[in-house]
């Protein structure tokens, strides 16, 4: 769909600090010495936005940033196109130091390298769908006819065929955000910044939009920074997930890392209610094994989720399966027990007996002819 071969652009953020308020620079040292967000606010009346954030966002991937309200997500994403000026730190986008750009170069950067989708859509109410989609292109300047063609293609790609002449007020929230997405995609920027883009939509529309974004991303392979506070959304979309708390990164990693090995209680509290069977892949829990010793029983590809694996193993019978990579090369083995334990979050590997969401789970073994006695459990 894109006109030109997309140039791929990664984002490297290092030691980024943001303090809101006057004379912010004077307080960087105090932060380094361990002053907290609350102390900074109490003593100096300043708000800590970001505290020593370093994230490396590889090109062509979806990077999700998660965190509770006020944790600094919006502040962070707005640094990437410099809608917010940092107090200290470095932001390199595609080898270019964003903080060194002068006003003119920054505008060019925003026009051609980044595009943004907003939680509240932020469409122009006096322009119809087509004119809104054209907005970024108009700002870039250039051939109107080609712009129009491109805008029409993206409008139809996001499923708004026939709505070109409607005004935003005539559209539902979901449709408005499709326009927001079409507007961002039409500008052909290699980076897409999405600040809680789907948070204002109801659940069904939301999963439609997630699906659409995933499909589009397979074609366009942009570097997407996606903010959400919904873990399911994060896991569904994110190649990489970073979790923020009080302006600090508490954990970064793949969805498997976050769910299987939450770095602390804060992260654990995020993942406690997640549907593990739908997220965890067999290769994350398998026993790596010597390929030669792997017997070709039933085969599972490495990216099979636990749910899918359990279903397949029940269908085909057998206790153990071999996990293979995309080329059919065996990687390890996985048993039904391992799958079941991982689904309920039980076992030392992911340490969720202590502090994890399944802490109320008490392993009790009952034999088939000795039904469970509730009184027994109460005694324990």
């Amino acid at each position: 769909m894109p006109d030109r071969e997309e140039k791929q652009v990664g984002i490297v953020i290092s030691h980024l600090f943001k303090i809101f308020g006057a004379n912010a620079n004077n307080h960087l040292n105090a932060l380094a010495k361990g002053m907290t967000k609350a102390e900074l606010n109490e003593r100096h009346g300043l708000v800590l936005g970001l505290n020593d954030v370093s994230i490396n966002m590889a090109a062509g991937q979806v990077h999700v940033i998660m965190g509770l309200s006020g944790s600094g997500k919006s502040t962070l994403i707005r640094h990437i196109n410099r809608l917010v000026e940092p107090t200290a730190g470095q932001i390199i986008v595609g080898g270019q130091d964003v903080l060194k750009l002068d006003e003119h170069a920054l505008r060019a950067f925003r026009r051609n390298t980044t595009a943004m989708v907003f939680q509240k859509f932020a469409l122009l109410p006096h322009r119809n769908v087509l004119e809104n989609t054209l907005y970024g292109l108009e700002i870039q300047g250039g051939d109107r006819y080609r712009h129009r063609e491109k805008a029409m293609r993206w409008i139809s790609r996001v499923g708004l065929n026939g709505f070109e002449n409607r005004y935003p007020n005539q559209l539902s929230g979901g449709m408005q955000q499709r326009v927001g997405l079409a507007r961002a995609l039409a500008s052909d920027s290699p980076i897409l910044l999405m600040d809680e883009a789907f948070s204002a939509l109801d659940p069904l529309i939301r999963s439609d939009m997630q699906e659409m974004l995933r499909n589009i991303q397979q074609e366009v392979k942009k570097t997407i920074v996606f903010i959400t506070h919904d873990l399911d959304e994060a896991l569904r979309l994110g190649d990489q997930i970073a979790i923020l708390r009080n302006g600090e990164v508490v954990q970064q990693g793949s969805s498997q890392d976050i769910v299987l090995r939450p770095a602390d209680d804060y992260v654990a509290s995020f993942v406690k209610d997640v549907n593990r069977g739908r997220i965890i892949r067999v290769d994350a829990i398998m026993t790596p094994s010597n390929p030669a010793s792997a017997l070709p029983k039933s085969l599972l590809s490495a990216d099979t989720t636990l749910n899918a694996a359990a279903k397949l193993m029940c269908q085909h019978g057998g206790h153990e399966s071999v996990v293979v990579d995309g080329h059919g090369k065996p990687l390890g083995r996985v048993t039904k027990d391992q799958i079941m334990a991982a689904m309920i979050g039980y076992g030392g590997l992911w340490g969720s007996e202590n502090g994890g969401g399944t802490s109320s789970f008490r392993p009790v073994l009952y034999s088939a002819n000795q039904p469970a006695n509730p009184g027994n459990r109460a005694e324990r």
């Binding site: 026009r111 051609n112 122009l124 700002i139 870039q140 559209l171």
Partner: protein, 295 residues
């Protein structure tokens, strides 16, 4: 204890000298620069005369059709069109056509000047707190200072006639234009502005594509207010030689011609209503896209 009941004031002689000094200074200023300042306003004079000639020389049926056409374009409402035609016909029938056209001409020119000067000032105010802090008190003075007071220097500089009349009207009528332009732009949704920034808009693009269009309904309310205030100045302007519906009213006051005053007063009300309905209908039509709701 005399000073408690009689406010201690500058002695009469000193006060007289201060006033005389200021008056003389201004008079000298007028004598030296009066002509060149009048020259400065020559284009305005030209515009006024052209506009007035157009309205008075064009056959009345054409003017009425023009007004009806404008009313239709702005409102798409037959009642408004009919009201416009009936009012104008009644005015003509009662022999006030020429005076009305002169007044309309002055209102049109004053409004155009108020928009041309007021919009940029309002925009500048919306962009800078400092400018807003400076201009706001000036607007307060313009609106509260009795118009007779600023008529004096205007007349001293430019004499009696159309131009000083229009200047007085503009001074009185421009504040709502400035205020509502400023307000409209300041009320523009911050999220949409952020989107404009995020897509790399220049300040000018932001103004043209986002701020002015979104502020337009409020700006139109300012235009409407400006027209109404300009009409309110018609009688006062006639005191310094502006022709139109104000002069018969003035004559009526001096000679106690009740009916003459009433007719001309009603004619002013009539064109005020026409202007009001047309400009408001136009303002509403600009917001059409906000009213179409998602079903």
């Amino acid at each position: 204890m005399d000073w408690l009941t009689n406010f201690p004031h500058l002695n009469d002689e000193a006060l007289r000298l201060v006033k005389k000094g200021l008056d003389d200074a201004f008079r000298t200023f007028t004598r030296t620069y009066g002509d060149s300042i009048e020259g400065l306003f020559a284009p305005l004079q030209y515009l006024l005369i052209k506009c007035e000639h157009f309205l008075t020389d064009t056959p009345w049926p054409l003017i009425i059709s023009l007004a009806a056409g404008l009313a239709w374009l702005a409102s798409r409402n037959l009642t408004t069109v009919a009201g416009t035609v009936v009012t104008l016909v009644a005015i003509g029938f009662l022999n006030m056509w020429d005076d009305t056209m002169k007044t309309v001409s002055m209102i049109l020119v004053s409004t155009i000047i108020a928009i041309v000067l007021g919009a940029p000032v309002g925009i500048a105010m919306s962009r800078s707190e400092r400018i807003q802090r400076v201009i706001n008190p000036v607007l307060d003075v313009m609106q509260t200072m009795p118009s007779f007071v600023y008529l004096i220097p205007v007349v001293m500089l430019l004499g009696i006639g159309k131009v000083p009349g229009v200047i007085a009207v503009v001074i009185y009528a421009i504040p709502p234009m400035i205020r509502l332009t400023n307000l409209g732009i300041r009320l523009v949704d911050k999220d949409v502005l952020e989107a404009a920034d995020a897509f790399g808009s220049s300040n000018w693009q932001k103004l043209r594509d986002v701020q002015i269009p979104l502020a337009l309904p409020t700006i139109m309310a300012g235009v409407n207010q400006t027209i109404m205030m300009a009409l309110a100045m018609v009688v006062i302007a006639s005191m310094i030689g502006v022709q139109g519906l104000g002069q018969p009213v003035l004559k009526a006051i001096n000679n106690q011609y009740f009916t003459l005053g009433l007719f001309n007063g009603l004619a002013i009300v009539g064109i005020a209503i026409i202007f009001d309905r047309i400009s408001q209908a136009y303002g509403k039509r600009l917001q059409r896209h906000l009213e179409l709701m998602h079903a």
